[in-house]
Amino acid sequence: MAIRKVLGIETEYGIILRGADSNPITVSSLLINAYVSALARQASAGNNKVGWDFEDESPGRDARGFAREGAMAPEIETHLVNAVLTNGARYYVDHAHPEYSTPECSDALEAVLWDKAGERILARSIEAAGEVLPAGQEIVVYKNNSDRKGNSYGCHENYLLDRAVPFARLASQITPHFVSRQIYTGAGKVGSEAAGIGPDRVPFQLTQRAEFFEEEVGLETTLKRPLVNTRDEPHSDSQRYRRLHVIVGDANLAEISTFLKVGVTALVLSMIEDDELAGLDLTLAAPVQAHRIVSYDLSLATPLEMADGRRMTALEMQWELLDRAKKYAESRGLESVGVEVGRDLLDRWEAVLHALETDYLSLAGQLDWVAKYQMVSGYRERHHLGWGDHKLAALDLQYHDVRPGRSLYEKCGLERLFTEEAVVSAITNPPTTTRAYFRGRCLQKWAGSIAAANWDSLVFDLGTDPLRRVPMMEPLRGTAAHVDRLLQQCETPAQLLEALGST
């Protein structure tokens, strides 16, 4: 039986400083520091900064069973800002971007909520930075994946899988989904960044990221990006689990796009885990090329070459997966993705595929690429502009601006899955259903006694040697149901550690 698809989303945000020359690493650090310092002032509890513990990180480990030469924990970056928040998230500088990783979530709906909370955290950070920046300077942050000049930055999804699933099967069966899901996961892009492709050929495409993928399977994330990333770093019991690190998607603002992106992918992964996709051969003849063809195809009707000689559109591939998923729901149940969430997911998935097939503009209130396409084409017609006009590129960028009042995504008025009150609560509170709950609540109660945190451990400093590490190797332990009473009973971290038997 497929294991619960614990999941999370990491987003690298685009960042610029207006009014001065700047180094993006410094600006990103300043942004996050300003937020964390403002929180500390609010808490008036002195130093609330809790650092990240890199001891167990090994991003160079490969799921195919070998380690990259010279791969090591990223110690070089530890001097950069790296905070753990009370909602269980990690907020840090990665490469030259501010990055927000949601806490571990137990279903797609939770992932939408804590991902949206991340956007608010970035917006609040901009405000906090505004208070320390000289007059005339301002930081602006974009939740997108491209600067329109050939530079891309990622939005990665993470899914917990049973270690027993053979990686080769996983890679071959998930690839057709990654290629075809773009029809509802894309965040949309005006034009193309590929050499020699002008606005006449590609005026608008479905995704931000498709043009940056060159390989089918591999370990890289910054160059020669692969559709299936093999990073093997489970952040949990590596004997039992694998974490699939998905780098192929766009950063979404639309809640329905995010919900379908992570929800359907979790469901397809469950089917792969239970070997329910055997016999459904959607293997593409040339997946990397097909990935781009789908992104460029506003008609949604271009057939893709399959390995067995058939031709199918991305929509047809998604219908096939949906049919399998419905049968799977009947025969095996939807526990692995959450029963209620799973049912909603199947309904929305079907409705979206149907609308894509009949009248995709009817999805302008649900999906990012359609909302952006409608807005940009409407603007273009009103002002009689060519597709290559800078104004349309500006609209594209500003769709992703996270500042309230400036975000064109907000102006487009897309359907919400949560109230704003729920989002605000998720800025400071963790999900109750995973180990993020234990991490977040401990930080709320005893930040001053936590020396470091990591996905799979908390390190307490009680002022006496040695430091005490509480391992959290099981993503589904440490939930509210498990630890709420314990946390309420303990007034001090020493009592907690004694109760946990770690002293």
């Binding site: 600067d147 530079n151 994330t221 149907h354 590129a393 609209l395 960028l397 102006k411």
Partner: protein, 64 residues
């Protein structure tokens, strides 16, 4: 494949039923157009001043 065709036919039938109960498409189209016009008016108010400079100066290096 046959089953998929069948399901798609079913969903087409379902949506045909829905279409009968909603206002004629022209009215719906008018409403959508009004909403889009409103959106485009608002965009003009918040759009970055110098589009060309804004787009040119947005450079992001060192991403994953």
């Amino acid at each position: 494949m046959a089953e998929r065709e069948q399901k798609r036919k079913q969903s087409t039938t379902r949506s045909d039923e829905v279409v009968e109960t909603v206002p004629p498409t022209t009215k719906q189209g008018d409403k959508l157009k009004a909403e889009l016009d409103e959106l485009l008016d608002e965009i003009d108010e918040v759009l970055e001043d110098n589009a060309e400079e804004f787009v040119r100066s947005y450079v992001q290096k060192g991403g994953q």
